[in-house]
Symmetry: D2
Subunit: 338 residues, 4 copies
C-alpha cells in the first residue's frame, strides 16, 4: 500500500498509446516534428489565450529554465518556505539563472500570503548592493496539498506588478488544483496574473513530460537557447510532445486528478485531529501520536516522513492509479485510532 | 528518402516493449527502482570491469555533466574542431562546468591526433594566468563518420596522463564504432585509457536514453548531485533505465548499428571521388558538383548541408530503420554521376 | 558631522606612507613582489599559527572567494539575517561559487546563535534533492555593532564540525572586535574553530585592502586560481600587500579601532532607551521618536536609516578619524532628549 | 635591467600625488564621491562624445565585466589567438558571462584581420545548437606590441555590424597605441566602431586603475550591478577615480607612453633580423639564436620567454620609467650580434 509519491505511479494507458502512435516513421528532430509543432496551438486552446509552450522532461527543468529566462543573475526570487524550488531541486534555479538568490518567506500550509511578500519588500530597501527582486514562485497545488484561490493569486500578482516582479507558478500538480477548484485553466493562471507556468504531466499519468507555458509570448525570448544549453532539448522530442498533447486533449488527465483528489479527501475525512493541513489536492499530511507511524508501516503502509527526521508527521500521496482498497485500509486504520 | 539524421528515426520495437514492461505498478522514483538499480551491474558486465553508470535523457547532458564532474570551472577542455561539444551544444559544457574553456584543435576527418594535443600543450605553458588544462573530449564514432582505432585512443591517453588530463569519449554513436571495429566495448574504452564515456542509445533505437559511464568509480564523486541540480534526474527514471538495459542486453542494438554501417558503406562505395571522409560508421559526407545537391533534393533525397552554408558538401546519415530502397536509390543516383 | 559609514573615512597616514615606500623601482607583478611574499609570514605571526593569506581589494571579494573555495556549487551557506554576504553583496557569493545557496537564519542583534543553526539542521534533512549544507558565515564585529564572544564562536564551530560545515568569519571590522574583546587575534579565530577569515583593513584606515586568511593552509587549495579568474589578482599587488603589512605591524591599526569603539560607546551611553543593540564596536543603532531623525539631520548629523525605509531607526558609524567634537555634539543632542 | 613587464613599474609621481590629494576628509563610499562623479564627464571630454565610464581595479575586470554586460551566457566572443582574454585571464570572461564561449581566430602579429572574422562567420552557420556569435574583442596595442590602424578597426566593425556583434577593445596599453598613431582618442575608438573600451592606466603609471568606457551609454545597462556582484565596486572608490582623472587630465600620461614607445623603437632598430613583429608600442619581440637568451640573462637583462617554453623567442617590455641606460645597454648587446 504505496503512498510515497505520485512520482512512483506508472504511466496512464493513454500516454503509452500516444507514445506508440508517435513511433511511426521518420520525424524531424529537436522539436520540428508534427507533435511538437502543435504544442503552442494546443496549449493556447487549453488556456484560451495565445501562449508559447515548450516541452521538457522534468518539473525541475521547467521551474529552473522558466525562472532563469525571466530573472537576471543578480535577481532575487521569493518563494514559500516549503517550495520545491527551494528545498528539492538541489540548486537548479541557481544553476540555470547563474546564481539568482532564492529568498524564502513564511507560507502557512504551503501558501504564500501576499501580505508576507508585501511586508518583505517594504522592509528591505533595494539598492545597488542588494539582490534585485525579480520574481515570485508559487506552487499550485502546493507542497502541503493545499490550493491557492484565484483571489489569492491575484493579490500576489498585484504586489508583483507594483514592484516589477514576475509571477511564476510551479504546476507540478496543476491538474489536481484544477480538479479541486473546478475552474478553467485560464482562471487560475493568466487571468489572475500568472506570467509563466510549469505545467506538470508526469505526476498525473505521463512517463516524463512537463511544459513551460509563457502567457506573454514576448517573455519566451531566449527560452529555446536556454533549454538547449541546459541539455533539455531532446532530439526525439516527438515522444515528449505526444505525451503532453494527449494529456491536454483527452479526458483521462483531469479524471485522474479528480479521482486522486477524491481518494485523498476520504483519507482526510478519516484523519480527524491528526490532519495538519486542509486536504485540497491529492496529498494528506498527518501528525501522529508516538508509535503510530511505526504501526502503520508494520501494517504495510508506505509513506514518507514529513518535516524533521524522527518527527511525528507523515505525508500520504494518492496516485492517479491508487487502488481504492489501499485507501479504504488506510481510512479504516486511521478511524480506529480516533 | 530521409537521410537527415539518425535522431529522426523512431524507437526500435524492443525499446518500446521494454518501456511497456516497465509500466507495471508502483516503483520508487528518482532512480531507486529495480531497473535503475541494475544499471551499474549491467554496464559493468558490458564493459567487463566495475563501473558506475548513470542514465540521462540526452547526449548533451551526458557530455556536459560528465565533463563538469571532472573539470574545475577554470579548467580547459580540448576537442577536435568538429566536436559536438564545441559546435552543437550551445554552451552546455560551459553551463554545467561553470565556465570551463573549450579549446578546439585540428582534427582531420573528425579525429584528433595525439600529436596535435601534445603540440598544443608543449606550445602553451600553464601558469596561474592561463586556463588549466583538464580534459580531452573525443567523439567515437566521430562527427565525420570516422572511427578511432584503439591505438589512436591509447596515444591520446598517454598524452593525457603525462599532463594530468582526463579523457572523455562522446559515444553518441558508440554502437556504430563497436560495429565497425568488431571489438569488445572494453577494447575501445578503458583498456585504451578512456576515463568516462557518454554512451548513446537514442540515435540507435532508443526513445531518449544515454548513460554516463565512469570507468573509475571514484571519479563519479558528485555526479549524482550535479545531475539532480541540472534537472536531469528524472522522477520516473525506470523508463530511461529500462531503455538502456534492453539496449545492452538484447542483440538488436548492435545489429541496428551493423546494419546502418553496412548501408552507409554501400553509399560510400557508390560515391567515388565525391567522398569527403572514409565511411567507417553510419554517415557519409560528399562533396558535390554545382547543381547536384539541388538535383538530389528534387528527386526526394533529404539531407543536410555539411560545412559552410551554400557550400558544396552534404551529409547523409543512415538510420537504424532506414529503408534499403532509399539506400539503393541514392547509390544509383550517385553511381550515375560517376 | 558624518556618521554614515567607516567606508567614507580617508586612509591613515601610515597607510599612505607605506604605499609611497612601496613605490620604489621595479617589482615583480601579480604577487611575486617582496611585500606580497611576506604576507604569509606576517599573518602567521599575527595569528600565532601557520596560515595562508591572500590580499584582495574588497571585503566582498574576500567573502565570496573564500566561501567559493570551500563550498561546492550545490552547497548551502548559513548566515544571520543581517549578514553582509546576504544583503549587501548583490549576489557575489553566488557568482563566485557558481550558485551556492545562502540561507538566512535568525540572528538577534546580529549574532547567529548556535542553537538556531543546530535547529535548522535538525529540521531539514539532507538528501540528493536538497542543497548540501557546506558552510556558516558569521560577521565579527557584526552588522549590528555587536561582538561574538569566543565561547559563542566555539559553539557554532561545534555544530559545524558535527555536520561537516566550514566556519567562515567576515571580519570587515575584525579590528573593532579585537579592540572590544582585548584578546589576541588567535583567540577569536582558529582557537575557537574559525576555518577562514576575511580580514578587513579598509574600514579601519587602509585605502582598499583586505585579506583572506586560511587557518588550514590545505584549504587554500585553488584560491589563487579563483582569485585570478575573479580579476582580483592585481598586477601591482605590492600596493595592496604593503597596506596590509603596515596594518598588521604598526600600532595605529589597533589604536584606530580602540578609539572608534570608545567614541561609539560614548554615543551609546548618551542614547538611553533609544539604543537598539549593545554598543560593542564602532557603530550605534538607535530607534527614534517621530521627528527626531529629521531634527538631527537638520542640525547637520549625517547617518543612514536602519531597517525599513521610512522606519524610525538610524545607524551611526564612528570612523577611525572621527572628530571628537562630532561625537560630543551628537551625545549632547541625544542626552537633551532623554 | 628589467624588461619583464610594464606591470612591474611603480606609479608615476602624479598618480601618487592625486591619491594623496584625494585623502582628505570624508567622502561618500561606493562611487558617490566627487572624483568618481566626474568620471563620466571627464571621459566624455577625453573621447569627445557622451560616454559612461566606470572604474575598476584590474584590466581583467574591465574586460570580463564589459563583455559580460554585452553578451549572453550562450554567446560567442571572437578574439585573436594571442588575446589576453583568451590566454592570461584564467577564464575571467567565462566567469562573469556565466559561460560564454571564447573562440580564437588567427591573428598574425597580434592583429585580428576582418577577413578572418568574416570567413569564420561564413563557414559556421548559426543555429539553436551552436553558440551564438555576440562579440569581438581586439587588443590595442596588441599583445605583440603592434597597433591596429583605424581603418582595420573599421573593417572589423563593419563585419560586426553585419552579424550583430559588439566590438570590444582591450586597451590595457591604449595610451601606447595613441602615442604611436598620434590621433585623438575618438579616432581609434567609437569613430571606427568600437562599442566598449577597457581603458588601461595601470601599466602606464597608475597604481591600479582601469576604466570601462561605453560609447553607447544605453549599453551600460546593468554594468553597475555586475561590477558590484563581481566585488569590483570599491568602497573607497575615490582613490581609483582620482588616479583615472589625473591620467586623463595631465600630460604625463601620454608622455609616459611616448617615451616608452620611443625607447622600444630604439631596441627594435638594433634588433635586425631578430625582430618578430614590427615595434609599434612599448614591447619588442625577438627570436634568438641558440645561447643568446642565456647570454643576455647572464649580463643582467631580465625578460620573459615568448611562445613555447624553451623556445627561442623573448619579450622585452619597456616601462614608463625605464632607465635609458638599460635600453642603451640592450641595444648595444643586440647590435653587437647583428
Amino acid at each position: 500500500m504505496h503512498f510515497f509519491s505520485d512520482n512512483n505511479a506508472p504511466a496512464a494507458p493513454a500516454v503509452l498509446a500516444a507514445i506508440e502512435a508517435a513511433n511511426a516513421g521518420m520525424a524531424l528532430a529537436y522539436g520540428a516534428d508534427e507533435w511538437s509543432e502543435r504544442l503552442d496551438e494546443c496549449f493556447s486552446r487549453y488556456f484560451d489565450t495565445p501562449v508559447r509552450a515548450f516541452a521538457v522532461a522534468t518539473g525541475t527543468a521547467a521551474n529552473a529554465l522558466s525562472l532563469a529566462t525571466l530573472v537576471p543573475p543578480y535577481g532575487e526570487i521569493f518563494a514559500g518556505e516549503q517550495a520545491h524550488v527551494l528545498r528539492d531541486e538541489c540548486g537548479a534555479v541557481e544553476l540555470q539563472s547563474a546564481g539568482a538568490r532564492l529568498t524564502r518567506l513564511p507560507a502557512p500550509a504551503g501558501l504564500l500570503p501576499a501580505t508576507e511578500l508585501a511586508q518583505w519588500l517594504a522592509d528591505h530597501p533595494v539598492s545597488l548592493h542588494s539582490p534585485q527582486p525579480a520574481a515570485v514562485s508559487i506552487t499550485q497545488a502546493s507542497e502541503c496539498g493545499t490550493v491557492y484561490q484565484p483571489r489569492q493569486i491575484g493579490e500576489l500578482s498585484e504586489v508583483c506588478r507594483q514592484h516589477g516582479l514576475v509571477l511564476h507558478m510551479d504546476g507540478a500538480r496543476f491538474a489536481n488544483a484544477l480538479a479541486t477548484l473546478g475552474l478553467a485553466p485560464a482562471e487560475l493562471t493568466w487571468r489572475c496574473g500568472v506570467d509563466v507556468l510549469s505545467f506538470g504531466a508526469t505526476k498525473n499519468g505521463a512517463i516524463g513530460a512537463e511544459a513551460v507555458v509563457f502567457f506573454d509570448p514576448e517573455r519566451a525570448r531566449d527560452f529555446e537557447l536556454r533549454r538547449k544549453r541546459a541539455a533539455h532539448l531532446l532530439s526525439k522530442m516527438r515522444y515528449l510532445s505526444a505525451q503532453l498533447l494527449c494529456c491536454l486533449e483527452q479526458p483521462f488527465f483531469l479524471q485522474n486528478a479528480v479521482r486522486a483528489n477524491h481518494l485523498a479527501a476520504r483519507i482526510g475525512a478519516s484523519a480527524g485531529a491528526r490532519l495538519l493541513y486542509p486536504v485540497q489536492a491529492n496529498a494528506v499530511f498527518l501528525a501522529f501520536r508516538p508509535g503510530e507511524k511505526q504501526a502503520l508501516r508494520e501494517r504495510g503502509f508506505g509513506f514518507y516522513d514529513w518535516g524533521p527526521p524522527r518527527g511525528d508527521a507523515g505525508r500520504f500521496v494518492v496516485s492517479w492509479n491508487q487502488d481504492e482498497a489501499d485507501v479504504a485500509a488506510l481510512c479504516e486504520a486511521l478511524a480506529a485510532w480516533s
